[in-house]
């Protein structure tokens, strides 16, 4: 996106410049930064912004994928393609204890699976590499408790988030100071909305996992969610028969927990058009947020991203 035209400084240019400022600020001040890479659309945008921020240099930090082993095959393909690019250092971490204990969304439920394979796994990786700053692609418009999240979100030595201990953030002066063991989670996309993200992906021609675009896929309907049957690990219930439907995903995570939406939007403009008419928020497709409306706040206190 060219920024040279002074007469028209658009909101996307303003958001892009703000994000680049944040990315550079962390790299200039943190000792061991890392970027959490979830393979989703927000990660794709964040990665694109990072390339811009440090051009012509390659990324001055590694990417970290916390792998629950339950992602969609298309996601792994996208990740491995990225990892093969020159100048990209991609770390993959899986909670091996969880694997050994056979933790899965089916046997342990969404909440336990997410805690062990995501939250605990993330903490293990951050501790192991002693990262003191971690970029995440979360946005404030995603969920109510995110609306108060800082751009630089302070976590104590146990990775806990305490709403009362957050630092005031004034102007564009961010305080990323930490003592040994403490860390900062940084959200360069804080002020972006879902619509901004798609607009930007469209404008910049950013590659995203094809699952975001509608295609005929085998799905089963459970608890109001359309679940795609990716492999044999998702056992069919008695009498259940996957049907082929034209669906797409608004958010991507572990496949048994990611609900698809029925859609014929097979191009980016069609997605944007559909979103303008949509009457449901993107997190609705996440099984993990369904229990009660303050659940995100609870998870964050425990160290969830």
């Amino acid at each position: 996106m060219s920024q040279s035209d002074q007469s028209c400084w658009t909101h996307l240019q303003a958001l892009e410049a703000e994000s680049i400022h944040i990315l550079r600020e962390v790299v200039a001040t943190a000792e061991r930064p890392v970027m959490l890479y979830s393979i989703g659309k927000d990660s794709a945008v964040m990665l694109h912004l990072a390339r811009k921020a440090f051009y012509p240099a390659t990324l001055p930090f590694p990417l970290l994928h916390v792998d629950t082993t339950w992602k969609f095959p298309e996601m792994y393909a996208q990740r491995d393609k990225l990892a093969a690019e020159p100048g990209i250092e991609l770390l993959v971490h899986t909670n091996q204890e969880g694997v050994r204990d056979g933790v899965s969304p089916m046997t342990h439920g969404a909440a336990v699976h997410t805690d062990i394979m995501k939250t605990q796994a993330l903490k293990q990786a951050l501790n192991e590499h002693r990262f003191d700053a971690a970029f995440g692609g979360a946005r404030r418009d995603e969920e109510r408790s995110r609306a108060k999240e800082r751009v630089f979100s302070f976590r104590d030595a146990h990775h806990r988030w305490d709403p009362k201990q957050q630092r005031p953030e004034l102007w564009n002066l961010y305080n990323g100071r930490v003592r040994k063991g403490e860390s900062i989670r940084v959200f360069p996309l804080s002020n972006w909305t879902e619509l901004d993200v798609w607009q930007y992906i469209h404008l910049e021609g950013i590659e995203v996992v094809p699952l975001y675009l509608a295609a005929p896929r085998p799905v089963v309907e459970r608890d109001g969610l359309l679940i795609m049957r990716v492999d044999e690990r998702l056992p069919l219930l008695p009498g259940e028969q996957p049907s082929i439907e034209s669906v797409r995903f608004r958010t991507l995570g572990c496949y048994p927990l990611s609900g698809a939406v029925r859609s014929d939007a097979a191009t980016l403009p069609e997605i944007i058009e559909e979103m303008l008419r949509a009457r449901a928020s993107e997190r609705q497709g996440r099984a993990i947020d369904h229990d009660e409306s303050a659940s995100m706040e609870k998870k964050k206190r425990e160290g969830y991203f």
Binding site: M1, L12, Y55, R144, V178, E270, R279
Partner: protein, 636 residues
Amino acid sequence: MSESAFDIEDYLEQHRNKELLRFVTCGSVDDGKSSLIGRILYDTQQVLDDQLEALGRDSRKFGTTGDVPDLALLVDGLQAEREQGITIDVAYRYFTTERRKFIIADCPGHEQYTRNMVTGASTADLALVLVDASSGLQQQTRRHTYLVHLMGIRQLVVAVNKMDLVDYQQHTFDKIEQAYRRFANQLGVEGLTCIPVCALNGANVSRAAEEMPWYEGSTIVECLEQADIDELRSSHQPFRFPIQYVNRSSNDFRGYSGTLASGQVRRGDAVTALPSGKTSSIREIVSYDGSLEQAHAAQSITLRLEDEIDLSRGDWLVHANELPRVAMAFDARMVWMSERPMLPGRQYDLKLTSIDAPVTPEFIHHRVDVNTLEHHPAEQLALNEIGYCRLRSSRELTFDAFDRLPHSGSFILIDRVDNSTVGAGMIVRPVSSDHDDRPEHVTWHEMGISKRARAQQKAQRPTVLWFTGLSGAGKSTVANALEQALFKRGHHSYLLDGDNVRLGLNRDLGFSDDDRVENIRRIGEVSKLMADAGLVVLSAFISPFRADRAMVRELMEDGEFIEIHIDAPLEICEQRDPKGLYAKARAGVINNFTGIDSPYEPPLDPDVVIDTEKLSIDECVDELLVYLKQRGVLIG
């Protein structure tokens, strides 16, 4: 958006050209602020079905609106606060209209949360202030207005909410508007719009209210769509580029990355690095999308220079003809944000643009009572207190005055032990080493008769009318005529004239830059004493430097200092040359003469401009009298 007329390509094109406006909302606990924001989100279709469903559930559990969904719950986030029914932290919300994208910093109205207010205001272009029509202006409304003004916000929209509770009566609204304008005038707030609304049913939020046919102005959403957006992007502002990060992608590439704080830069521009003073020129403006010919404020770019000068994070690049201040000490307005008070003598880490440096508050000139705006002596600043302080570093710092360039005049202080952000500051002026001594064992004595009592007895408010302008512009003439008019009307005033002061009090001072600063400082102090006596003080001095006038403004309580620019072009002043001084300056007989071989910095945002080329003396006086009445300086 009708189904058939919708063209996605048109929409995408339109959407990519939207601007971004950031605003802050403030109001007291019961003004209905959350309801108003909820209403705006709802009306601009930001609320989706699953959120509405959750809202329905929550309304039954926590709501205060009976069977109607409680829109306030859309924006009240954290569990704890929802249970207590108050918002306790800044929350950010987003919505889009046909014309703009908006970011709302939703600030809590609770007494203790000055800190959050200030945080939310720091990034805003505009403030939306809530007033409850059924209870009128509150102490908090005044405090919030003062805070957003302190933070440099120059556009205010006042939503007089709950008009349904006062039967949509015009006179109730008019009364509140008048009272608010009176108060805002005292502060020097100018860009002000008042709108009668009812958040509950959406009247004048995004739809013109049929309930109030007497109101013909804009709705809140219209007003937000028309507001000005950050004028700092304007090319008239000086170029400021604090280096944030040095990009060394290879041996032969060294780029300086950062965000333009103000102004613009072009390829080929000569630039000066500060604080070193080294010079070079711009070889390339690097961006991922190709080299740029120019860049403007708020862009995040990378600059390559023609010469190998060694620069690092915290250095600035500027144009040599528009230098910022470089000094080891400065005076600043501070807002304290920590439970542990600010103590003079204690060291903190300063973060100012990309500069990191230890600083020590030396002393507190005064603390401001945010309710009365009075100045009080202070030995420390406690949580949520505001003070005017002197800070000193052990090295030279580069900065601007906040009022002129907020992005390069604002800073935070960080506690060196626990790393928390403890204070926010706005720089008023640099302090040079000569005139900054302060007696250690002398403190201000409060007298038995207060300043207000003295002024009330004289049917006036204590005020300093500061006339600034070129020699020969007519400062003394207009000030004299105005004083006579005040005297005739029974007001108590005193005129301080440049020449008279130099013959006595300031006989030891010459015309060097340092002496000019000291001259103005002393006059400022004398004006302050006279204002304390309840007088209307008229000070007529060239006072060519903005920083000095800002220094006098800071000595006074908020609203007491009125800057009057007596404006006439240099040619006219030179023709008039009442004392023959221009002729002498041109002949080289006198040096450092303002306008000839010494600069005059005109006020950027004067309270009054008097054009003596166009107006007669009587007209000047009339204009000033009207202004002083309107501003509440002259009572009766």
